[in-house]
Symmetry: D2
Amino acid sequence: MGDILGRSLRLISFGESHGTLVGAVIEGIPAGLSITEEDVQKILDLRRPGQSEYTTQRRERDRVEIVSGVFHGHTTGAPLTMIVRNEDVVSSYYEEYRRRPRPGHADYIARLKYKGFNDYRGGGRFSGRITVSMCMAGAVAMKLLRTLKVEIIAYSLEIGGERARGFTLEEARAYRYSNPLRAPNEESYLRMSKVIEEAKAEGDSVGGIVEAIALNVPPGLGDPIFDTIEGDVSKAMFSIPAVKGVEFGSGFKAARMRGSEHNDPLVIRNGKISYLKNDHGGVIGGITTGEPVIVRVAFKPTASISKPQRTVDLDEMREVEIRVKGRHDPCIVPRAVVVVESMLAFVLADHAIRAGFIPRVLG
Amino acid sequence: MGDILGRSLRLISFGESHGTLVGAVIEGIPAGLSITEEDVQKILDLRRPGQSEYTTQRRERDRVEIVSGVFHGHTTGAPLTMIVRNEDVVSSYYEEYRRRPRPGHADYIARLKYKGFNDYRGGGRFSGRITVSMCMAGAVAMKLLRTLKVEIIAYSLEIGGERARGFTLEEARAYRYSNPLRAPNEESYLRMSKVIEEAKAEGDSVGGIVEAIALNVPPGLGDPIFDTIEGDVSKAMFSIPAVKGVEFGSGFKAARMRGSEHNDPLVIRNGKISYLKNDHGGVIGGITTGEPVIVRVAFKPTASISKPQRTVDLDEMREVEIRVKGRHDPCIVPRAVVVVESMLAFVLADHAIRAGFIPRVLG
Amino acid sequence: MGDILGRSLRLISFGESHGTLVGAVIEGIPAGLSITEEDVQKILDLRRPGQSEYTTQRRERDRVEIVSGVFHGHTTGAPLTMIVRNEDVVSSYYEEYRRRPRPGHADYIARLKYKGFNDYRGGGRFSGRITVSMCMAGAVAMKLLRTLKVEIIAYSLEIGGERARGFTLEEARAYRYSNPLRAPNEESYLRMSKVIEEAKAEGDSVGGIVEAIALNVPPGLGDPIFDTIEGDVSKAMFSIPAVKGVEFGSGFKAARMRGSEHNDPLVIRNGKISYLKNDHGGVIGGITTGEPVIVRVAFKPTASISKPQRTVDLDEMREVEIRVKGRHDPCIVPRAVVVVESMLAFVLADHAIRAGFIPRVLG
Amino acid sequence: MGDILGRSLRLISFGESHGTLVGAVIEGIPAGLSITEEDVQKILDLRRPGQSEYTTQRRERDRVEIVSGVFHGHTTGAPLTMIVRNEDVVSSYYEEYRRRPRPGHADYIARLKYKGFNDYRGGGRFSGRITVSMCMAGAVAMKLLRTLKVEIIAYSLEIGGERARGFTLEEARAYRYSNPLRAPNEESYLRMSKVIEEAKAEGDSVGGIVEAIALNVPPGLGDPIFDTIEGDVSKAMFSIPAVKGVEFGSGFKAARMRGSEHNDPLVIRNGKISYLKNDHGGVIGGITTGEPVIVRVAFKPTASISKPQRTVDLDEMREVEIRVKGRHDPCIVPRAVVVVESMLAFVLADHAIRAGFIPRVLG
C-alpha cells in the first residue's frame, strides 16, 4: 500500500531486493516521447553498486528491459513498464536478521507490521535496491523535462561532515559523475574519500547531504495547497531509504535570518522580471518562480555496519549482540545522488504535465 | 488544483484570506466520533491573531460553524464541513501589491500563474489565513487520535536564533500554550521575546523552528514506498506558508553522525521490545516504531516587513521601492505551532485509518 | 467516504437533506472562467421541487451562494465552493422510518452500516436532495464545456412505460424544459402525464428513462482502460439515487444485433472522416469519436409511495405495515433530467481538462 | 492514462496485445493471503482463446508468472505483480487496419488521439487481450473474498438474442464452465450455439449479455455518493471491450414498474432481517444489503467480421471496402464471462478492504 506516486504522471514501484526483479510502471506518460533502453540504462548505471571501493561489492549488471508502452522507439501513451532482474543475490544472512533485527533497519518493525509475511531477504521493500525503480522513472522524467530544457544537477554536498566548497555549478556539472563520490570538485572529493575510508576501516559508516539544482524550470509549476512543489518533492525524497531531512533554498538556515535579509527582491534583468538572489530556492507559495529549484536532502549514515551492536533476539526474547554481515556501502550518499536527481525530475515532470507545460502527445 | 490532502481521510481546503470564509471538508471521517464546535474552537483559538503584541492586530473572532456531517453531537460518516467567516478584512493595500509585488510573497508568481485571475486580496489562497482550514481539520484529527491515546506536543523550539533549552517534555506540555510565543519554558520565552521585540522595533521580522512530538503512536503506521510517514507529514508541512525545511529525529544532524552512533539499538524494557534511544525520530523505513514521532519544521522570517524593499512595478516595468503596510506578525512561528500540530495529527489519523487502527465506525 | 468524483476536475459533495445546507466544492477548476450565481441558479431551478403537480410540494427557493473561488466574476483557480441552504424541512416522520425502514429506501442499510450514527432526517446523504450538489457542479461544467461548444440535451425518454417518439433533436432542445415532465415533445408529454396521474391517484409511483445527448464533443476524450468515458459517466450516474441501469448508443439492444448491423462504417462527409451512423453512441474503446455521445439512464419508480407496505419494526423485531408520509414525487424522472445532464457535463469537462482540450487558465 | 482502478485495493494494468507481455500490479493487497500461480492460472484458463470452435484460434498458453509481492506462498503486503507473455502473435494485418480502420474498432480514434504513436498491432491497449490483466486481478480478488465466503457466479444470460431460461443458480454454478459458451444450462447452450454457428457461417458475429451474481456479500459495502457499488462496478465493467450497458437488479425493467411492485419489503426470516425479494439487486443507496448482488452486462457483437465493410483509407482519403482478416471470436460473450466475474470480484474486494471487512494483514 502506498506504492503509487504522482497525480498526472504516476509511478508504480514494484519488486523486492532479493525477489525476481525490481520494476516500475509509469502511467499517464505522454505519447510520442523518444525513449530507449539505453536512455534508462545510463541513469541506472549511475546508481549501480560495485563501481568503486566506496560502495557495496554486490555485482549486478542491472540491465533494464522496457516491456510495455514503447513502440518504434517512442512512448505510446500506454503504461510504460520497465524491469531489472535481480542477479547477485545472497540471502543467507537474512534469516538471522529476521530473528535478530539490525539496528537502524526496518527488520523489526516490518516483521511486526506485516506479522511476519514480509519478504525479509535483503530488506525486501525496505532495501535501497528499490531505488532502481526510482531511477528508471527518473530517466523517463528527465527525457520529458528535456522538452522544456530543464536540467537537473545533483551532487554530494557533504559526506561525513566534509562539506564541498569552492565549486561553481559548471564544475559540479562536469565533475560530479566522473568521481565515485559524486563530489562537485576534486578538492571536496579528496576530503570526502578520506573520511569514508576512515569510517570503513573502523567498520563504521557515515552520512551526508545531497544537493540538487533544477535549472530552467518554467515558472508556475505547483499549487499553494496541498500540492506544493516542496511538499511533493519532499514526499518523493522521504521514500528514498535513509533520508532524515529535506530543505529548500535557505532551508533551516532561514530560521535564523531576518526578513530583510531573506526576502528576495524582484528586479528587472535583460528586460525580464527576475529575483536578485535565490534564498527562496526557486519556489514561493508552493509555485516555481523560474529561479533554479534548490533542494537539499540529508542522509543518515548507512545502517549496516560491521561493528558489533546491541539488539534483541525475538525468538528467545533476550538482548544479544549482532555483527551485520554482507556487502554494504560505508556511505550511501554517492549512490543516492542520481536517485535524488531522479525523484526531483519525476515530481517536476508530473507538475509540468498537470500545469499543461508538457502536452498529452508530443511531437 | 491540489487542494485535497490524504488518502483514507481526506481534507479539502477552500476559501480565501479576504473572501467570504475559510472552510474545510473532511471526507472519509469515521462515523460515531463525538465532536462539537467547542472542540474545534479550542484549536482555532490557539492560532487566532490579535492575541499578543507579537502577532498581527487583525481582530477576528474566528468562530467555527459545523455545517454538515455531525448529527446529535457525533460524526455521521458523511463529509464533515466546517467554516469560519472572514471579518476584519482590510483589502485596500492589495491593489498596490498586485502591481508592486512584495518580496518574499507569492504576489508576482501568483499573478503570472493565474494570468491575473487570482484573488490577490490578503494574499488569497497564499495567505497564512488558509491555515484556519488546517486547524479545523487538526481538531477533528486530534479527537480521532485520542481514541488511540495519541498525544501531540508542539512548541517553538527556536525563534530568531534563540533555541529553547533546559526543558522537559512535561514542562513543554504545561507551559507552551500559556505563553504567547509557544515557548516550552519561561527562560526560552524570555530570550525569544527579546529577539522578536528587537526585530519588530527595526521594522523587521524573524523566523524559527517548530518541534512537534507525537506520543503513543501505534507501531506500524506508514509504508516504505511512497506513502512513508515522513513523506506524508512533510508534504502536509510544506503546505503551511513560510516552511523551508522539515526533518525527523536526528534530521540534518544525522548527516554528520557515524552509523555506530546513529543506529538505535533494540532493547527489552519491561518485557517489551523498545529502542535504547530515539535518533530515528519514531519512524524507520517509513513506518512508525512506537517511539515518539519527532518532527522539526523550519520557518523563514515573516515576509511582510515595514522596512523598505526593492521590487518591480509590473505595470510600468521599472524597479521601485515598496513599504509593506498592514498588520503582520513579526514572527509567524508562535501561531504556526498549532498548525504544525494539526497537520501532524491529520496525517497520523489518515494513516491510522488506512492501517485499520481506527475503525470506520467508532463506539 | 467516497464523496469525491473526478481526477483533473474534482467534485466534493457535502451536506444532508435536512441539515444546514447542501454544498459542492469544485477543485481543479481552471482560472478565468466567467461564472455567476445566476448561471448556477438557472440549472438549480430546473431541478427544484414544487414546480408542478407532478413533483413534491416541498417548497424551497434553493438559492445558491458562491462562497469561494470566484473573484470579479471569474474563477480564480482556487476551489470553487457553492452552497444552498435547506429551508422547508419537515423531519418529524423520520423517527418512525428509522425504526420502521421504508421499502426501497436505504433506511435500514444506512442504520446498519453507520451503527445508527447517520443523519436519517429526510434520508440524509441518501436523499435526492444531494443532487443539488451535482447540479451546482453541472452548471460550472457546462460553462467550461461551452468554451468547446459542447452542448448537452437531456429529456425524459420514457416514463411509466410511455416512450417518447416522433421527435427530432431540435424539438427536444426547444420543448424539454418548457414542460414539467421534461418530455421531448407534446405528444409524449400528454401520454406521460396521464400515466403519472394514474399512479398518483393510486398512491403509487412510476419510473422511467432519461436520455442525454452531448453534441460537439471533441474526439479523443477518455482512455481505453480504466478511465473510459462510459465508465466514468456511468459511475457518476449511479450516484444519482434510484438509477438501476446505464447504457450507451445501442446499449442493451446491441446484445441482439449482428456485427454487420452494429458496426458503424467510416465515411467521408464534407471532406472529413465521420461515421455513417452512431450505434456506438459517440464512444469507441472508451474514447469519444466526435459523434454525439448518447447515454440512457434507467430510474426505478419513486420508493416513497402512500400505499401500505410491509416492513419490519427494528426495535420490536416484528413485521409491520407502513404508510410513507411526506411530500414525494410520483415520478422522479422529470427532476432527474437536469441532474443527468449535469453529471454528464461534469465527467466530460473533467476529461476535457485531462486531455488538454481545456487549459488551466482560460482567456 | 487512466490505467489504475480502485482506491484501497488498486489494479494497475499494463502491456499490449502484440507486445512483450500483459501484466497487472495489485497495490494495497493485504499481507498473508495464500496465493499461487495455479490459483491465478485457473482463472486465466477460463478466458483463454483456442478452446472451442466458438472462439478465436489464436493459441497461447497464457502462463502466469508472479514476479513480486508473494513470498513463501503468501502475499507480503508489497505490490503483487503478475505477467503473461504474448506468444502466438501475428501482426501482419495491422498495418492495413491502421490505414484502413476497421468499423467497430478503435483503430481510427486511437490513431487520432495518440497522433499515430499508439501500438496498433493487435489493437494494442484496445484489445480484448488486455482482459488478461483483469483476470489476474480477479483471481487474487476472489481469494480475498473467499475469506468472507463471498462467491461469484457468472454465465452467459443471452447470446445472439437467445436468452437462457429454466435454470437454477445451482445448475448455473455446476454447468457454466463445463460448456464452451458459459451457458447456465444445456438447453440454453444448445440454442446459443446454434445462433453463433449461423452467424459464423455468414462471416458475421453476435453479442449477448453476461449476468453475474455475488453471494454472501456482507451488508454495508459501498457509499451513497460517489463510490457506490453500482458506480464502481459499472466503471470496471465498461473497461471490458465491447460493453454497451450495465444494470443492477431489475435494471432497465425497473423503469416500467410501479413503486408498489418494485419496492422490496423487509421481512424477518429465521430471526434475521431480510428482503422478501431482490429487485434491488443487492444494493440500495449504493450500499450492499446482504442480498445477492446482481449485475448484467451487455456486449455488442464482435467488431471483427469477415463480411466486407465500408471504411476510409486514411492515407488516400477515400472510401474503400475492407475485409477483416485474422482469428476472431464470432461471439465474445463466452470468454467475457470470467472477465465480468473478475471485475466484480475486484471491486467488491476493494470495498471490503475500505469498509474494514478484510484486514490489512490476514491470518
